[in-house]
């Protein structure tokens, strides 16, 4: 009989999975067998711990030791030292960059200190492919309580009072959404989960589905009961194979226990869930486009009203909620709306999961209470800017959001404040940029994305975004004029006001927010024909300093287009018209005589 003294938790999120966490798990199994310790140590594959920067993560309990960047060949040392002898493997512990000391307990790491995990409560704690572990953590308790109480209106009222708002982007109150769907009569209604996470650099929903799929199943059943739907559908992108697999396993287990299917908990409530795969179009995160895609039609949005609550999937009343929103539901019911509404700011309650990325030391998945400041996220949780560089901006809300500058570092983050600052919450992508990022190029990057992802149904989005992108391209090439900047602003406002769906209405945000916050940088591109960050290739100039040049000819010999002239032992010169700005001369010069202007 197994009597476990240690649990070894191994991260099985996509990030760590890609760095061989499956092999690490296999090695542990093998080693423990070798040492006859199978009954003393339990090995658990979990969901994402969030600290992806330092993955693969291995956590040992009960002494709460947090090993980072573990390689398959480190397993032997961990077993020999930690498990057998009880000594921690110092070199694999997290090294605090400030104090240069090793930290063994995750609670004492800056990355975790300010976090509050509600939606991610089980990620990195339970085995997502084992329903028993979910049940042991109060899983399905909320569903049972809701069914037992048999008061769907009351439950909706509780969700309303909790202040939970949609985590997919716009922040519509979840309880209100449910109450709009409930009164509509039909022979069939649908509870839909939107798992079409499309922002570049965002992986919140994927991690929840990979780390805690049962919480979504439970929440969908609760939602189904409240709005009167017996069918649940998860729209998930086919690019998320691991999330799909774990969800399928979870659904099968829930069915086996009778937690999905007919007469759940002995009541007359029936509910079951099916998956629908998306092909990865950004616009399909918009609920009407999502519904069309599920019906097998083109993923194009339609004008609202009619809202999906009246006429949704297959023309039946439907309710669409985002993954992270749903992950909050069971906890709200278990702990009460009063508890949930005590967290956060006046109008934004609870927590928000962010995918922290970009030029920051601790890249990863974080969950923080609403009202936290950007400074806390970037400098305390994120550990500051990489390589000691200067902070320049943070992009939130993905292609629909905007860039926030230093002056917003101390603004409490919630839905309203981000919109007021010219950005938005979005689904929670957060990309940090340092002084080497060119803001015109950043705006162009997002516009490239929206042009690619525009469905083409309405002309403001189809044509307007394309034009915006062309103007930005012109500016980055040094061919822009001051009229172009004016035009950029006007066109952006027209698109914002006239586009059909959320994608088009928000797509000019990256342009507008960078113009507002970095006007000087745009002017530098247009008037001085300079890129202050040195990113725009066409505006770069490689120049040889005749004082420093020894005439070694290394640059001239390596120049692929023969743009450098000069004789041996005499200063060389670059023909700017012929130069293709490849940077070869800059790398080859041994005397630091070449600079970028």
């Amino acid at each position: 009989m197994a009597n476990y003294k240690y649990h070894i938790l191994i991260c099985g999120g996509t990030g760590c999975h890609a760095s061989q966490s499956a092999k690490i798990k296999e090695n542990f199994v093998q080693l423990l067998k070798e040492k006859n310790l199978e009954n003393d140590v339990q090995i658990v594959g979990t969901g994402c711990f969030g600290f992806c920067e330092k993955g693969p993560i291995v956590k040992i309990l009960p002494d709460n030791t947090f090993y980072t960047q573990v390689k398959p060949e480190d397993c032997r040392e961990i077993v020999d030292e930690h498990i057998v002898k009880g000594r921690k493997v110092e070199r694999l512990l997290y090294l605090d960059p400030k104090t240069q000391e090793h930290r063994s307990d995750s609670k004492h790491m800056g990355f975790y200190k300010k976090q509050m995990r509600i939606a991610l409560r089980n990620c990195g704690f339970i085995n997502p492919e084992n329903i028993d572990e979910y049940i042991a953590r109060d899983g399905y308790k909320a569903l049972a309580a809701v069914l037992e109480k048999n008061d769907p209106e009351g439950t909706i009222e509780d969700i309303k009072k909790s202040g939970l708002r949609g985590r997919g982007g716009a922040g519509f109150p979840t309880g209100v959404k449910w109450s709009l769907c409930r009164p509509n009569k039909a022979d069939q209604k649908y509870m839909i989960c939107n798992a079409d996470e499309g922002d570049p650099g965002a992986f919140m929903d994927r991690s929840i589905l990979e780390g805690d799929p049962h919480s979504i199943i439970e929440a969908m059943a609760i939602g189904g009961f409240c709005i009167g739907a017996t069918k649940g559908l998860v729209y998930i992108r086919a690019e998320y194979p691991l999330a799909i697999h774990r969800l399928q396993v979870a659904i099968a287990q829930a069915r086996e226990y009778g937690l999905l299917g007919k007469n759940i908990f002995g009541t007359d409530f029936d509910f079951d869930i099916e998956l629908r795969y998306g092909a990865g179009a950004f616009v399909c995160g918009e609920e009407t486009a999502l519904i069309h895609s599920m019906e097998g039609k083109r993923g194009e949005p339609t004008f609202k009203p009619p809202f999906p609550a009246v006429e949704g999937y297959m023309k039946k009343p439907s309710n669409v909620n985002n993954v992270e929103t749903l992950a909050n539901i069971p906890v709200i019911i278990n702990k009460g709306w009063e508890w949930f509404s005590s967290i956060g700011t006046e109008k934004s309650k609870g927590t928000k999961v962010f995918a922290l990325a970009g030029q920051i030391n601790n890249v990863g998945l974080i969950e923080v209470p609403m009202g936290i400041t950007l400074r806390e996220i970037i400098y305390e949780i994120g550990g500051g800017i990489k390589g000691g560089k200067q902070f320049k901006a943070v992009q939130t809300g993905g292609p629909s959001g905007g860039c926030l500058t230093e002056k917003f570092l101390d603004t409490p983050i919630d839905y309203e404040n981000l919109v007021a600052a010219g950005s938005m919450m979005g689904s929670g992508g957060m990309i940090v940029m340092d002084e080497t990022s060119c803001m015109v190029s950043v705006a162009k990057f997002y516009l490239d994305f929206t042009v690619e992802e525009s469905c083409g149904k309405c002309s403001p989005c189809r044509i307007g975004n394309k034009r915006l992108c062309e103007i930005l391209d012109k500016i980055t090439k040094g061919q822009g004029t001051m009229e172009d900047l004016e035009e950029l602003r006007n066109l952006a406002h027209v698109i914002k006001d006239t586009a059909l769906c959320g994608l088009g209405q928000t797509s000019p945000n990256p342009v507008l927010s960078t113009i507002d916050n970095f006007w000087d940088e745009y002017v530098a591109h247009v008037v001085d024909k300079k890129c202050p960050a040195g990113q725009c290739k066409a505006l770069k100039q490689y120049v040889i300093d005749p004082e420093k040049c020894k005439g070694c000819t290394a640059c001239a010999r390596n120049c692929p287009v023969n743009a450098i002239s000069g004789t041996v032992k005499n200063p060389h010169e670059i023909d700017q018209a012929a130069c293709i700005k490849c940077g070869t001369c800059y790398e080859k010069c041994k005397f630091n005589a070449i600079s970028i202007k």
Binding site: N3, L61, N64, G86, E133, Y257, F265
Partner: protein
């Protein structure tokens, strides 16, 4: 597999399953728990530290005590093996020597559950640098 048919079923099931995760739940809150470290170097193991650890785990479980039991290396008191260090929240650690399995039962009963001292306390003559 047996279906869960009611709230009572779920509760029963949860109670059965919770003990499997107890170790992890404790680890999450380790600062507020009684922590027991059993010295398990060669000297400790040879004197029966494994059985002692087993006994402490089982006895605490039987008494519904939340105790985090881990093993550690040699504490240096090889003459008094098996040795066990107990740290209660907010208190200085106490090291006990000559803990046989029978003595371990007593340790759990008297010191862990109550607050009664036992014979065999080794005066701590070192300082610990916590990281």
């Amino acid at each position: 597999m047996e279906k869960i048919k009611s709230l009572a079923d779920l509760k029963k099931k949860r109670e059965e399953l919770q003990s499997n995760l107890q170790l992890r739940e404790m680890g999450d809150n380790v600062d507020n728990m009684i922590q027991v470290k059993v010295a398990m170097a060669t000297c400790g193991i040879a004197s029966g530290a494994k059985q002692v650890m087993e006994t402490i785990i089982n006895e605490s479980k039987n008494r519904n005590l939340s105790v985090v039991v881990t093993q550690t290396g040699c504490m240096g008191y090889c003459y008094a093996e098996p040795t066990v260090e107990v740290k209660k929240p907010g208190q200085e650690p106490v090291v006990f020597g000559y803990i046989t399995p029978a003595k371990a039962v007593e340790l759990v009963e008297k010191y862990l559950a109550g607050n009664e001292m036992l014979d065999g306390v080794i005066p701590v003559n070192y300082e610990k640098i916590d990281k």
